[in-house]
Every structure is written in structure tokens, then in C-alpha cells.
Symmetry: C2
Subunit: 198 residues, 2 copies
């Protein structure tokens, strides 16, 4: 895309800045640029050279986070195997990108304003996770009384909740995938509930 070949130094610095931005902003959305420069171990001047304005960095950080999440989902091969197995792989994959997910979904204004601009076509149309859910519904594995979009949002929401718990030490990182999957598959009720008889 760039007209000139980027030097290795440039790309290394840019990557450091963007990842630092995600890392810092995920904990404090109001963190200042100097704070991010410090986290990236980069001078304030350098940061402004790479990203002349705050919004540009915000967008780059968002795009980067989306790439990380998208890549993890792709690696999980959601279009392969039994839907239940596939979604377990997806959850496990998401667990390894918790920072990126919390960054993107931790601020509703990000998801509302920046994400659409960042991904002109990928987000809603042809989402591999939606495809997986639809496939699972067609095969009678997932509840087809619930919309695929709702199920997807629940997947994000429950995963996000788990990441939060890890963050505050209430849940062991190791248990994230198991807990999320168990909750998704059976809800919060004990197994084999006598189908409502309260």
C-alpha cells in the first residue's frame, strides 16, 4: 500500500506504539498520549510523527485488535467439524486474544464509530462465527429459536465477562475456556433440569 518500502525500524516502532496503545487503553480509555509513548518506550515526538493525531492511533489500534481477533478465529477453523467442537475451538482461540477483545468491545463508542470505519465490509457481512452458528442451527445443535446474531453477541458477552473475572483475579486464566463453554452450552442451570415445573 505504501509508496516507499518501510524500513524495519519504522515498522518495529509502529508496531510497538500500536500494541502499547491497545495495552494501555484497554485498562484506561482516557490515558493520554504521553502515557502511551512511555508504555511503548518511545519519545512523545516519535509517537506524534507516526500518528499526527489521536484519532489515527485509535483507529490503528482498533484495526490491529480486530486483525488479532480475526486471525485467531480463522486459525480455529470454525467451518470444520461438529459445530459444538468448532465453537469450543473458537472460544479457546478467543481466550488467547482477551486483550484485543476487551479493547474493541470494552468501549461501546469504539464498536459503534471506529469499527465500522476500520472494516468496511468484513464485520457484519460474511462473519465466520455467524456462519458457524447458522450451520449449528441448521444441524439442530444450536437453538434456532434464538437469532444467530443474538447467539454471537452472547458468545462475545460471556467471553468478555470471563476475561474481566480473570483481570480481577476472580477466575483462573486456565479455567476460562472450560467455564465459558460450559455456560454457553448449558446455561446456568444444573444438567437435566426437569423442563420447568417450578
Amino acid at each position: 500500500m505504501s509508496s516507499k518500502q518501510v524500513s524495519s525500524a519504522r515498522s518495529r516502532t509502529e508496531r510497538a506504539i500500536v500494541t502499547a496503545a491497545v495495552r494501555v487503553w484497554v485498562r484506561d480509555r482516557t490515558a493520554t498520549l504521553p502515557q502511551i509513548a512511555e508504555a511503548a518506550e518511545v519519545g512523545r515526538t516519535t509517537l506524534h510523527r507516526y500518528f499526527p493525531e489521536r484519532d489515527g492511533l485509535l483507529r490503528a489500534a482498533t484495526e490491529h485488535a480486530l486483525e488479532v481477533v480475526g486471525g485467531a478465529i480463522a486459525e480455529a477453523e470454525p467451518d470444520r467439524g461438529h459445530p459444538l467442537e468448532a465453537i469450543r475451538r473458537v472460544v479457546a482461540a478467543l481466550a488467547s486474544t482477551s486483550e484485543a477483545i476487551m479493547f474493541v468491545f470494552g468501549d461501546q463508542s469504539l464498536a459503534r464509530d471506529v469499527v465500522p470505519a476500520a472494516e468496511p465490509d468484513l464485520p457484519t457481512p460474511h462473519d465466520p462465527v455467524i456462519d458457524l452458528i447458522r450451520r449449528g442451527q441448521a444441524e439442530g445443535v444450536f437453538d434456532d429459536q434464538l437469532s444467530a446474531e443474538w447467539i454471537q453477541q452472547v458468545l462475545w458477552g460471556v467471553s468478555y465477562t470471563a476475561f474481566e473475572q480473570v483481570e480481577q483475579g476472580t477466575l483462573a486464566k486456565f479455567d476460562v475456556a472450560t467455564t465459558v463453554i460450559r455456560t454457553l452450552e448449558h446455561g446456568i442451570t444444573a444438567r437435566a433440569t426437569p423442563e420447568r415445573q417450578p
Copy 2:
């Protein structure tokens, strides 16, 4: 608590400001005080007279939102009846306080910093919802392989997700309680899944 009797005017104005703050900040955490003054139909000067600094209003808004949510939960009588029925009442009650819930839980820094200061003893110890979940687990209704705290967080998380969907028009307000409860009770899988056989 106050040494002087508060005039009806004072309390009416204060209430208008606080509810406006919740209403505005739930959609845009970065909204300015003039914006809130306008939403409260109150002069900028008046707002500053009631809340000399931003943090004070933020705290008051948080306390108010917590009171609203706590009141709704209490009205749902979570300690009465079958746990499944009780939690359905709680979800229905939460649905009517979506604004307050989204305000408190929509910003992790709020839940992290302001909430503990706002409720010195109520939040974690002796939470009626936790009590309900524990009771349900003891009666074999809720999954006792999951911690009560996790189940509570899932309850919040799924409800929050539903409110978001309503906000963006993806879910009808009318369907919130049904959808949340169905998801909580059975997860995202079709009823009577042949207990794993992928």
C-alpha cells in the same frame, strides 16, 4: 442525613441533574457538564452549585443508579419461591432498569473505582442475587459446578448484552426478558442435546 431540611425545590433540581447525568453519560461517557446541564433543563451555574466538581456528580449518579437497580431487585423478591421463578422475576426487574445497569456496568473504571466507594458494604457482602443463586444451587436447580459469583456475572453480562441489542434496534424491548431467561437457562444449544457426541 442533612442537617437542614431540604426544600422541595432543592431536591427536585438535584434529582433532575442526577438522572440527566445518568441518561446522558450512559450514551457518551465523555459528555461535558454543559451538556448535562442542558439535558437536566438547568443552568450551568446551578449544576455547579449542586455539584462543585465533576467527580461529585459522577459519584452521585453512580449511587443513584445502584439504588435504582437495588430497589428493582428487592421488589422482585429473589428470596421467595422456586429459584427459577425467582430469577425470572429478577431478570424482568432488571429489564426495567436497563439505563441504570448500562451506566454502572458500561464503564469498567466506574465499577472498579466509584462503585466500591459508593457502597461501602452492600455490594459484595450479602448480595441478594448471590443468595438466590446459592439457594438455587443448594436445591439442585442451578449448576453448582459454576461459582455463584460467575453465575451472577453471567446474569449481568447477558442482560447487558440484551440491553445493547435493544439500544441498536437488533432486539425488541418486549423480548428482552424472554430471550435472556431462555439463554440463561439453556445456553445457546438446542433443547435436549444428546449430551455431547460430536
